[in-house]
């Protein structure tokens, strides 16, 4: 529809982005990098919302608004996460997620 690009192409891109994000979240140890991975996941979801809205219900806007909300919430979440990371750094002198393991048993 957008100059002949089929919907599948967009979906493949967003899926790849999503799994890159998941992989990054699981295998990276640095908290900042994990936060970036979360941003990737969120943005892949944003793409999905916009694309489904545009292709399936072109005369409606819910998908777009959802994306806008997610962007806003992602910004807030990043602020909170970075505040937490700074506090962890102050306590542990590094930001390696493996050292944050007090909350077990």
């Amino acid at each position: 529809m957008i100059q002949g690009i089929p919907i599948e192409h967009f979906l493949i891109v967003s899926t790849i982005m999503f799994f890159i994000g998941v992989c990054g979240f699981i295998i990276r140890r640095n908290l900042i990098t994990m936060l970036m991975a979360i941003e990737l996941i969120l943005n892949s979801v944003n793409i999905n919302f916009v694309v489904f809205n545009r292709y399936l219900y072109p005369d409606q806007l819910q998908g777009h608004f959802f994306s806008l909300f997610i962007v806003g919430i992602a910004a807030a979440e990043a602020a909170v996460a970075i505040a937490l990371i700074i506090n962890i750094y102050r306590k542990l002198r590094n930001i390696d997620v493996e050292n944050v393991n007090e909350m077990k048993f």
Partner: protein, 638 residues
């Protein structure tokens, strides 16, 4: 007849007094609780007398007394057909019982002002007395058998509380437990009886159950269990409940021990009112028992006869004056049960029923008098035992005279009240069962003998060493004695055969000289023997006791019934039933529960490593789980 709405106050006043005294009594001076209780009971007493006067004499009763229900309300509603009512039922026996209970209770309240003076727990005593009176009144005015059962249990509880009033004394605690357990055990029979009865008839209501010629027993004839009809089972079980409260053999063991309670309590509960609840129950169910379960009525007659003989024999050998009176109570209760057991229904045939109620009334008066007199004696000499007493007639003239009147009354000397009621019972027994008549005839002689043995031992003979010179009791104690003495003398002239009869119709009766003369003679013979043996200190009683040897020892030890019960419970029930059950509970049931806990704990130790605290492990598990779910969903849907 209307205008009986105020009767609701009769049980309510004691209830309110109980609540107020029980909650606030500790804060007042003791005498306030006592006065409050006594005034409340005086009001109830007056109301009961008014009710009785209006009921019995306030109108024409050519076609018998009506049953009046001035108040009734549904208390518990389970389904439309199964509901329990609370109400007030007035008919001749319940009105008579109102008079008996409130009279004795009022006298005991008054008497206790003097007797219990300075005791610890004075307010508590009065609170419990009010609770007891409330329960007993609720019992007799019950409109249905379930209400009766509820108050029946309340009466048992208040009896337990009052027997154990001196709760620092181990023997009082043991006695209260014994009384409660034995009567409770009998009440189980009562409850099962109620359930069978209501299953057969579909109603709890006394009005429907005792209506003459009612059809609700139509289905009962075909039901039977172990070859005995359902109604016989039901009535026998209900009688077991009554036998427990009225201390019929073999459930009599609690009553002598119950004398551990304060003496006014013995007078009120264990002589005049609570122990006749069993007799009252049988009288209340009388038409059902008589028409539907004649076999149960036979049992009642024989149990009553045996108990009266058995208890009279034991009473001869006892030295504790309260125990003599307790066994005498047993014996007289046996009389009442027996009279119901030999009674027919309607008119002259119902003589036994009338005689039983008559004897209940007169017995309440003279036995309460005997107990209060005994209390007055104990108050003066601080001992329960006859061998600590003697020659008291000089020191305590009022107690002496009233006690003598009571002894003459119970011995059946005309024209005192005991003579009339006992005579009616003997006549009823003679008409229906010669064996029971013979038993009662002997018991009449024994009764006179043991009562005068007590009398001569206490009031005649030599003076003993007293801690201080015995003194006459204060007025609060001697006024009830005098009042009850007057009641004992004159209550025999009440026209019971016109007032309280099995079918609520009056009938005419006359003196039966053929029975009255021998029964008076055997009573006099008993008195004469007591006179010879005990008037002056002599060695004859001890020699006689030696001569009878083992028989005397067995009787003195109440035929070892307590020991038999102890043997059965301790050795047999505890060892062979309770212990295995306890083992089962401890090892199987508890073991199962503990096992569940242990297994859970073990498993959780094994798997707690999964909670590593590593955020990325959790995330991995989450993603892996989601993927697995998604894939399996795809697999099953495709």
């Amino acid at each position: 007849m209307t205008g009986f709405a105020y009767t609701i106050l009769i049980p309510l006043i004691p209830l309110i007094v109980f609540l107020v005294t029980g909650l606030l009594g500790m804060k007042w001076k003791p005498i306030v609780s006592g006065l409050l209780g006594t005034i409340g009971m005086g009001t109830t007493f007056t109301l009961s007398l008014l009710t009785a006067g209006k009921y019995f004499f306030g109108g024409h009763h050519a076609d018998g007394f009506q049953t009046i229900i001035p108040f009734e309300t549904t208390w518990l509603r389970f389904t439309d057909t199964l509901h329990i009512n609370m109400g007030i039922l007035l008919d001749p026996i319940s009105v008579m019982m109102l008079v008996v209970i409130t009279t004795i209770s009022f006298m005991v309240h008054l008497y206790s002002l003097g007797y219990m003076k300075g005791e610890k727990g004075f307010a508590r005593f009065y609170a419990f007395l009010s609770l007891f009176t409330f329960s007993m009144l609720g019992l007799v005015i019950a409109t249905n058998i379930f209400q009766m059962y509820i108050f029946w249990e309340l009466v048992g509880v208040s009896s337990f509380l009052l027997i154990g009033f001196y709760y620092t004394k181990p023997s009082a605690v043991a006695a209260s437990k014994k009384a409660f357990i034995v009567t409770r055990f009998a009440d189980l029979g009562f409850l099962i009886g109620i359930l069978i009865l209501s299953f057969v008839t579909g109603t709890f209501d006394f009005g429907k159950l005792t209506e003459p010629g009612t059809a609700i027993f139509g289905s009962a004839a075909s039901m039977s269990f172990m070859g005995i009809s359902a109604m016989t089972w039901a009535m026998t079980l209900i009688f077991i409940g009554g036998a427990g409260k009225s201390a019929m053999f073999p459930l009599h063991i609690w009553l002598p021990d119950a004398m551990e309670g304060p003496t006014p309590v013995s007078a009120l509960i264990h002589a005049a009112t609570m122990v006749v609840a069993g007799v009252f129950l049988v009288a209340r169910m009388f038409p059902v028992i008589h028409f539907q379960a004649p076999a149960a009525q036979e049992i009642i007659g024989y149990v009553g006869g045996f108990t009266s003989l058995f208890a009279a024999v034991i009473a001869i050998t006892q030295f504790d004056i309260k125990r003599v009176l307790a066994f005498s109570t047993l014996s007289q209760l046996g009389y009442m049960m027996l009279a119901l057991g030999v009674s027919g229904y309607g008119g002259e045939e119902g003589l036994g029923y009338m005689a039983s109620m008559f004897h209940l009334f007169t017995h309440a008066m003279f036995k309460a008098l005997l107990f209060l007199g005994a209390g007055s004696i104990i108050h003066a000499v601080h001992s329960n035992y006859m061998y600590d007493m003697g020659g008291l007639r000089k020191y305590m003239p009022v107690t002496h005279i009233t006690f003598l009147i009571a002894c003459l009354t119970i011995a059946g000397v005309p024209p005192l009240s005991g003579f009339f009621s006992k005579d009616e019972i003997l006549v009823a027994a003679l008409h229906h069962n010669k064996l029971l008549f013979a038993v009662e005839f002997i018991v009449a002689g024994l009764t006179a003998f043991y009562m005068f043995r007590l009398y001569f031992n206490v009031f005649w003979g030599k003076d003993r060493h007293y801690h201080h010179t015995p003194h006459e009791s204060p007025l609060t104690m001697s006024i009830p004695l005098m009042f009850l003495a007057v009641a004992s003398v004159f209550s025999g002239f009440l026209p019971f055969h016109h007032l309280v009869t099995s079918d609520k119709m009056g009938f005419d009766t006359e003196m039966h000289m053929a029975v009255a003369v021998p029964s008076v003679l055997i009573g006099l013979l008993g008195i004469a023997m007591a006179w010879i043996l005990y008037k002056k200190e002599s060695s004859i009683p001890a020699k006689l006791a030696n001569k009878f040897g083992i028989l005397y020892t067995a009787t003195y030890n109440k035929f070892y019934f307590d020991e038999i019960y102890l043997f059965v419970t301790r050795r047999i029930i505890f060892n062979y039933i309770s212990r295995p059950i306890a083992w089962f509970d401890r090892h199987i049931i508890d073991g199962f529960m503990v096992g569940i806990g242990l297994v859970t704990e073990k498993i959780s130790y094994q798997i707690k490593g999964m909670q590593s605290g590593q955020l990325q492990h959790y995330a991995f598990m989450f993603v892996a789980g989601t993927l697995a779910l998604a894939l399996s969903l795809l697999y099953f849907l495709m």
